[in-house]
Amino acid sequence: MAWQSIDRVTPADDDSDEPLLSEAVKEKIRGFFVRYPTKRAALLPALHIVQETYGQISHRAMRDIADLLEIPPSHVLDTVSFYSHFWRHPRGQKVVVSCRGLSCELMGAREVNEAIASHLGIREHETTPDGQYSFVTEECLGACEHGPCVLINEKLHKCVKAADVPRLLADPDNDKVDVPRSDLYDGLPLAKKDVLPDND
């Protein structure tokens, strides 16, 4: 049987050595240092900010974060890969997170998930060709009284029925929250030169 084999020593061809994080992003991350006694504790905030800015956390980003926080890049990889919120490959403009908890499933979440997958034409962790939507399911989102729940970026949609899905996904404002926002964990707008090509 042909087992899968991976060369970990050689980085991928397109994984360039160039630094990725802009000075503005680094400055925002540094702003978190004062909160914690160690720089390392700013890792989770740093990863959130980098993901919100660049759409994913690439190996280049991990190296830069490691340098900034003075920890080895292997530790950054360790942390990033543990949590399901972080994407190591590019994701769409809007991430559709559908709840697969027991309460939502009892209220019909399976049909909702199938509707989303078929409407977008993608499977979990995939992105639509136009880069607009990515789709994942997550464990209980903590809004069980309104199941089935669907989180689009920051906006939580409640009591979603399979029939609602096309309308929901067509709504351009489906990720707008209606409470005053704090920009503490927000990403920074990318300068034109920072915009990455499609693959990393």
């Binding site: 087992w3 020593v9 980085p11 991928a12 292997s74």
Partner: protein, 559 residues
């Protein structure tokens, strides 16, 4: 979940005892203070299965194999009873009169289930796995496990990874003991290895582009209890049950790590470190671990060679002592004893150096002795690399010889005419030294520089004892083989002054005789050379060489 059934009810006077006595399986065991119950049990010869625990690494208590039952004080009646929950023996420190047991149905059931759990996703690779024969999954399954598999579902398949220039990671065999990660974190300090993902999809990995490349990385293969981390050098080379392990000392530098040479079929296959607290603990560096290939180099000098003018002969070993003794006698008669010199190499064992010095001084009491080329490469490599100054636990010495101190002790003990190496070579150049015995034995083929061969042309009697032919050996009148350390036996003295013995693991190559044997005969002694015979004679002159440092044995079931 905080049911406080722990650690109450033992008297405070008891904790003052320096050698606490604990009771394991109804047996009283006296143990060292401050160690874990697991370590105490292992030192008492009890086979407690364990993966994640290693005495040189931090305790994580994650494998859950070493769980034991312990007597604790009941929260209300305050009587000592067996606690209803199992407790990891690796995270419990011994306290006097503590009572624990491993021989109970609950403990055995846990061991069985944990072994079964390990096999849920483990591939049936034994026929192709390097670790077979020294695998703790095999051994524990047999001793503590469940013979029948109940898994009918698909196993998670993990990839094989190339994580470094010398190491492979077959992820599907990994049992997630995290020893390797903790090693690169705590002992090497290089922190290349990490864990990725979570749950039963967790894997060991490196950051792409920053592979496992440090001078201690070979140790992760040793501490891996299964065949997950593999040595590329040893991959598919030998089945371990064919290998015979011989205690030896690494000749790579003056640290003098205790090692084990694994041989079979007249060949050396690999070196493994031996436990040697205070010197190398459980570790050895890659330079020593992989630096033995020269042993089987076909270019090695084997048969003795004698040159008369331009005629070159290969006399038998039986005739060599007479030839050498005669030639030296002739030189002394012709030019006097002060014309003789010998350069001892820091690659020689104490016994060989003593025998040679004794022979030369026996021929010419005023012969000059000197200590030869000592190569120092770079700075001491301190591990852990990211540690605080002064906190190093492992040092790779820049002096790349095993026995400079030993040879110096021999020279000090013998006294008499000494000179520096530079002085001796300048005298050779001026023609004041006519008969010279040069000992090389350096695995670095480039040590014998062209300048040396120019100077040696002036000698009337030039005996060289070396490993590889070179321009210098071409000018010699007598060429004798310097055999590899695995073929010889004797003692080395490391940089801290510890005298450590190494044993013969291999016969020398065809046609060669080991240095100890021919020097023994040349020096006029009869019979077989053994390290002990020579040490018995040496010790009266140099008592310091008589105290051999023997590391305490590791308990049989420790790994």
């Amino acid at each position: 979940m905080c049911e406080l059934w722990f650690n109450v009810g033992l008297s405070s006077e008891a904790s003052l005892a320096l050698m606490p006595t604990i009771i394991i399986d109804n047996r009283e065991v006296e143990c060292r203070e401050g160690i874990s119950v697991l370590q105490a049990a292992l030192e008492a010869g009890i086979d407690v299965p364990h993966y994640c625990y290693h005495p040189g690494l931090s305790v994580v208590a994650s494998c859950r194999l070493c769980l034991m039952e312990m007597k604790v004080s009941h929260p209300t009646t305050h009587e000592m009873e067996w606690a209803p929950k199992l407790i990891p023996s690796c995270q419990t420190t011994v306290r006097d009169s503590m009572e624990v047991r491993f021989d109970s149905p609950a403990v055995k059931e846990n061991q069985k289930r944990v072994m079964e759990y390990y096999l849920v996703n483990h591939p049936l690779d034994c026929p192709v796995c390097d670790q077979a024969g020294e695998c703790y999954l095999q051994d524990y399954s047999q001793r503590f496990g469940e013979p029948n598999s109940r898994v009918v579902d698909a196993k998670h398949k993990n990839p094989k990874k190339d994580i470094g220039s010398r190491t492979l990671l077959y992820q599907d065999r990994c049992v997630m003991c995290t020893r390797c990660v903790r090693f690169t974190e705590e002992v090497a300090g290089t922190q290349e290895l990490c864990i990725v993902n979570r749950g039963d999809r967790a894997e060991i990995d490196v950051f792409p582009g920053r592979g496992l490349e440090n001078n201690l990385q070979g140790n992760v293969v040793d501490i891996c209890p299964v065949g997950s981390l593999l040595d590329k050098d040893f991959l598919f080379e030998q089945r371990v049950w064919f290998l015979k392990g011989v205690d030896s000392i690494c000749p790579g530098c003056s640290t003098g790590c205790a090692i084990r040479a694994d041989v079979n079929d007249g060949r050396l296959w690999r070196l493994k470190p031996r436990y040697n607290p205070g010197v190398n603990d459980w570790w050895m560096c890659d330079e020593g671990r992989f630096g033995w290939k020269y042993v089987h180099d076909e270019m090695r000098i084997t048969r003795p060679r004698v040159r008369r003018g331009t005629a070159i002969e290969q006399p038998s070993w039986e005739s060599i002592p007479t030839i050498v003794q005669q030639r030296f006698a002739d030189m002394v008669a012709k030019y006097g004893p002060a014309s003789v010199a010998v350069q001892l190499s820091p690659e020689m064992s104490c016994e060989e150096a003593w025998l040679l010095a004794r022979f030369i001084r026996g021929m010419a009491a005023e012969a000059t002795l000197t200590l030869g080329d000592v190569h120092s490469v770079g700075e001491p490599q301190l591990f852990p690399v990211s540690g605080v100054a002064g906190g190093e636990t492992f040092v790779v010495q820049p002096e790349k010889h095993p026995n400079r101190r030993g040879v110096e002790m021999i020279l000090d003990g013998l006294g008499g005419a000494m000179a520096s190496r530079e002085d001796v070579w300048s005298k050779i150049g001026k023609g004041e030294i006519k008969a010279f015995w040069l000992v090389g034995g350096y695995p670095r083929a480039d040590w014998a520089k062209k300048e040396l061969s120019a100077a040696t042309e002036k000698l009337e009697l030039f005996v060289i004892q070396d490993m590889f032919p070179s321009k210098v050996t071409e000018t010699a009148h007598v060429v004798l083989p310097f055999c590899a350390w695995v073929e010889r036996e004797g003692t080395f003295v490391n940089q801290a002054g510890l005298v450590q013995a190494f044993k013969r693991a291999l016969p020398p190559p065809e046609g060669a005789r080991i240095d100890g044997q021919y020097l023994f005969t040349i020096a006029g002694y009869e019979g077989l050379y053994t390290g002990e015979r020579v040490r018995a004679m040496m010790v009266s002159q140099i008592p310091g060489l008589g105290q051999i440092h023997i590391p305490p044995p590791q308990p049989a079931h420790q790994h």
